[in-house]
Symmetry: C2
Subunit: 245 residues, 2 copies
């Protein structure tokens, strides 16, 4: 039997999603819990990695295992045995051809910015911009140029999943909204290169503070070459909100 | 020169406000920073204690010290040298007869409840009620009986500030509001006994789940005797929002 699970986590204290010898990753902790529940090693497959410090409200993974009881019991069993910074929010049986990574049709990320210094109760989830002021309208105008299918090599980075993938992604949404000092950048795409969201955010912030002209940013996109002009935004502001299937 | 400071903190990792030999308290950390800035030991005086795990958006303290530069520089100096879970949000000079504790005319606390299991990005600031469902209307009705001047001994606890104080407090506000699964209990009073807010919250939740009849709770108030029927709500849901002067 194959199970599709949705998990939320505060990534602050972990070394990212992907299993590591240190053991302090989301995957390691979930697999450890499954091993206890099923009395045998269980391998889980995530929709993709998240880096150290990146959060998730709707990360998805699957695993195979026999579970005789009602599956609401499986949800409760998973919940009760995890640290409170990791929370399985949904479990349901799926067909054997479902794959958390390869069946995904897209993902939504939200990046959170704070104009000023984020309060202590929010600082883990926001990039605090200090005294920098953002021109949100200019950033939104600039963002529309990225929509659609592009080769995003200029916003990718070395590392990440080892398997080769096309640098051409379909960016369906890249949108900024403001509520007082809180700014959200919502992005939806068919897929992302490694560190692509944080690179787009870093570049857009530089546009918003007047450090990078929008035309220059567009030239960088077209060049398909990563340059030092593109700064990667901090991990803490990033949250994987939803995986689409 | 006397300075009035406002400070916000995430109390999760600290042993409360009050200075302790361990040094891991908000007061200790603020005093250590001031010692560096003023090159001498500086004693600070808070509006009152907060327990281990309790948060603050607007705790107030004062201290005496000579500062020759503009006081916006003092704010920046305080901010830059503190852990990000403690943030001084305002500093201003006050007259010598101002006292953070004795000049306070009242305080507002907010207690945060979550019906269900709070998501990982909120769990540090909410009391998760799991499957318990709350009758908010009944709780609000019950809360109105507590308004006004009462002897709140039945909702106090041993410990806290060593100085004797009257158990009679003027409760000006005790109000529940709901937004989906998020429930806030806002309270304003002239002052509070030790653990009074968490005791009122614990009792109100027991009313809301049907475990404690409202009439019984009122009898407990009148008895002025703490009983085992009154459970203290967890520290994590509590936040000192504002001190009134």
């Amino acid at each position: 039997m194959r199970w599709k699970c949705t998990v939320a986590y505060d990534g602050t204290g972990f070394h990212g999603w992907q299993s590591q010898p240190s053991g302090n990753t989301i995957q390691d902790i979930l697999e450890k819990r499954l091993k206890t529940l099923f009395s045998q090693p269980i391998r889980i497959h995530g929709s993709g990695r998240t880096d150290s410090g990146v959060h998730a409200k709707g990360q998805v993974y699957h695993f195979d295992g026999q579970w005789e009881n009602p599956y609401t019991d499986l949800l409760n069993a998973l919940r009760s045995g995890l640290p409170e910074s990791i929370q399985v929010t949904a479990v349901r049986p799926v067909s054997d051809d479902f794959h958390a990574r390869f069946s995904a049709r897209g993902k939504r990320y939200v990046y959170r910015l704070y104009e000023g210094y984020a309060p202590p109760m929010e600082t883990r989830y926001y990039w605090s911009l200090g005294r920098r002021k953002l021109d949100i309208n200019l950033m939104n105008e600039t963002a529309t140029r990225f929509l659609g299918k592009h080769d995003f090599s200029a916003f990718g980075a070395e590392g990440g999943d080892s398997s080769p993938q096309s640098p051409i992604k379909d960016l369906r949404r890249l949108q900024l909204t403001r509520k007082g000092r809180h700014i959200r950048i919502t992005t939806e795409a068919s897929g992302y290169l490694y560190k692509m969201v944080r690179s787009l955010v870093g570049a857009l912030v530089d546009v918003g503070v007047g450090r990078l002209p929008p035309g220059e940013l567009h030239r960088i996109l077209i060049s398909r070459q990563r340059t030092a002009l593109v700064v990667t935004a901090p991990a803490r502001g990033l949250c994987l909100e939803k995986v689409f299937y």
